[in-house]
Amino acid sequence: MSQQPRRQRTASEPVLSVENLRTEFHTDKEVIRAIDDVSFDVHPGETVGIVGESGSGKSVTARSIMGLVDDPGRILDGSSIRFRGEELVGKTEDEYRDVRGDGIAMVFQDPLSSLNPVYTVGNQIKEALKLHQGLTGKAATDRAAELLKAVSIPDARRRLTEYPHQFSGGMRQRAVIAMALACDPDLLICDEPTTALDVTIQAQILELLNDIQDAEDLAIVFITHDMGVIAQVADRVNVMYAGEFVEKAPVEELFANPRHPYTQSLLESIPGRGDADERLQSIEGDVPTPHGAATYCRFAPRCPKAFDECDAIHPAHVDVGEEDVEHTAACLLYPDDLPQEEALAIHQEHQTEAERTGDGDAQLVDENTPPEEEQ
């Protein structure tokens, strides 16, 4: 995991461009807006981190990009996911399969459940090679062995003939990464790839991802709940809360100068940052389940800085950083160089705008009942 200088954003076209992504799940009881108006770009060679607590919508974001949102979930109209300029929203399953084979790959959290226990590891890598690159026979075996070597599995040819249960946890995740690399992707989505692993193994996997990224100029979307991991791997970070991005910033900027109260609380609750004798800061309550477009700030019930207007106006993203850094936060406290009324007016305007441009269900939302509260 040796540290390169942080990659500068190039003028190149983004590999992936997500705009106004909204994903809902329709059940008999209720409609859950798992992702609400999420936008971000990923450029070649950079790592974009998405960080948040469980239930904040990180994994659904990944699955939406991969086209893996199944019924009763659906991506709402007006959402756009463009990969290399090509619109992915609305593609059929067959069309999507081509995209997955030819450019986007995903690494899941639990390596044991992403591997089939009754086939050898070699068999599964070769299946990916056959589907995506048309390789068969000896050519496929050779390429599979090369891929295993590329993810630093020693004695690769023997390992190809073994089953997933004969691999250790870290080795399994390497094999899964090898399968992801089989389709020679431009974009790799890693959904908590090291959460199930020990720290020493985690360090190996992060180092491996970093090496692969450098070698292939790969774009990576890295999803995790671990602020330590995000600090080490990401170039830019999006902080996710209840289906929304609440703060976006380059990684150093985010850790040095967190602006959204949620990001601040999240950083304060990590043990070891402050004095060991101090009590840990915690955030009261739980992540709420969003049921539609919000006309209020979703973090307000847990926010130490909330004021009356937080329940009435939905905050928009505003610039909160220095001139030359892209740092935005969705909070009514900002922009803090304006008097409060003017700041509120800006957010109010955004909200009216959003309601007028078709997000018509905004008025249906007040059924948001907070779940069982953590006392």
Partner: protein, 538 residues
Amino acid sequence: MTEVVESDESAREEDVLVEVNGLKKYYDAGSLTGTPVKAVDGVDFDIRRGETLGLVGESGCGKTTLGRTLVHLEAATEGEVLFDGRDVTSLSGNELKRWRRNAQIVFQDPESSLNDRMTVGEIVREPLDVHDWPTLTVRVAGDPDATVTGDAEAVGPTATGRDVDVTVTVSGDDADVAVRDSLPIGPEDLAVDVDSGSTTTVDVELLPSKAQVRRAHVRELLERVGMQREHYFRYPHQFSGGQRQRIGIARALALEPEFVVLDEPVSALDVSVQAKILNLLEDLQDEFGLTYLFIAHDLAVVRHICDRVAVMYLGNVMELGAADSLFDEPANPYTHSLLSAIPEPDPTIESDPITLRGTPPSPRDPPTGCPFSTRCPAKIRPEAFDDLDDETWAAIDDLHRIVRERGRAERSLRERAREVLGMETRFSDVEDIVVEVFGRLDRTPDTTAERSFEAMMDALPRDVRGPLVDVTDHLRENREEDALERLLDAFGSECDATSPAYYDVDEGGRVSMCHRHDPAYDDVGPVLEERYGDYAGR
């Protein structure tokens, strides 16, 4: 039965609650299939009254087994666990049940450790029902020979603290009754009848039913762990992970234990919820004078909550000492590596961790010598190879690991038959392996055409080449054991030969298990610096 020492810091310092001596837990020990799994392989340590001892290590290192063995959920294979000076590994039956009130455990996964078909109240109340709580122990002040009848029983003269529920002071036929504070009853709930004949007889009757007392106690516990009394009749699925963990904690505290094993109590929780549970655990420790064994793999959490820390690897305690000094100046190479692998939540740290190669060996087949010798970044190298560069050493270590792996790999009958007949198997491509491992070196040829086995060997120094040729020959004939022996013979050192002793590494009584602490060798710090330069975690 026990002495509760009041909060005298200096006395508490030396006051050992749990003493573990040579504890071993082997699985499959008596089986015919050969070697046992050595989950815990001989550990010694003390836990002082009122402290929190952390137990850290990678998964599979035996930390959970050790915790479970301490509270007698697993029977120890060898060694003793002295609880207040009494060996508890041999307890059984009623004695064991009585003792269990003192030692409880909180499990890792709040999703699976609560029965979804029981209400929260039933779950927390279950230990009370099992132990027929409250037993209402009575001391008759100044008269140890007095007989106690009714719903209560007399306690011995040495019992103090929570072992005495009711104190009765007799004056004539009248009695002055005092009830321990933490019980949910008062003197008014007891009917005490004194008969001062030749021997004093005290008859104690509990007016509310035991069920009522238990319910009241459970409600108080729920409130104490940050839930509401009304949650008594709800079911676990109605609560979030953090709240479920609170229920698990309430259940562990129901019998007022002195010692609680916390087995990864916050690992399944989000960081903000985790902070709340850690704060709660600290509050409860202060309030009830609890002693914790805190098992975790998250070192930041351990540093925050623990007084002392034991670092475990492959069933052995590698280093044990005060948390602050252990984290600030680690002594053992394993502690160094573990600390250096933690990603710091600070992107400005340009860290270059010591990345350990490979995975921990199987506890069924631990290495000879030091348990960490197969991955150790500071391993002692034989003097004969003083001049050999780090890169070549890394390749030799890689080959070593591959040979170990191959020796352990299962062979089907078909594969064995093919080997005997000299046919090709998946274990055949030995030369390719050697080329793969040594082909990365600067000194060996780059171009694919030149990367033959012979060219590779020629590029290596003579004293390295000789043993490697032998090793390759052994492997070609599927004699992994011989190959391993040859490797150890040529490149092994003290680390592979003998298990290191514990050395004192600071004035605070910190101990570490490593040959490098022997003055005959360079110490760990300078060696790591020489081999890895400015690595993280220092």
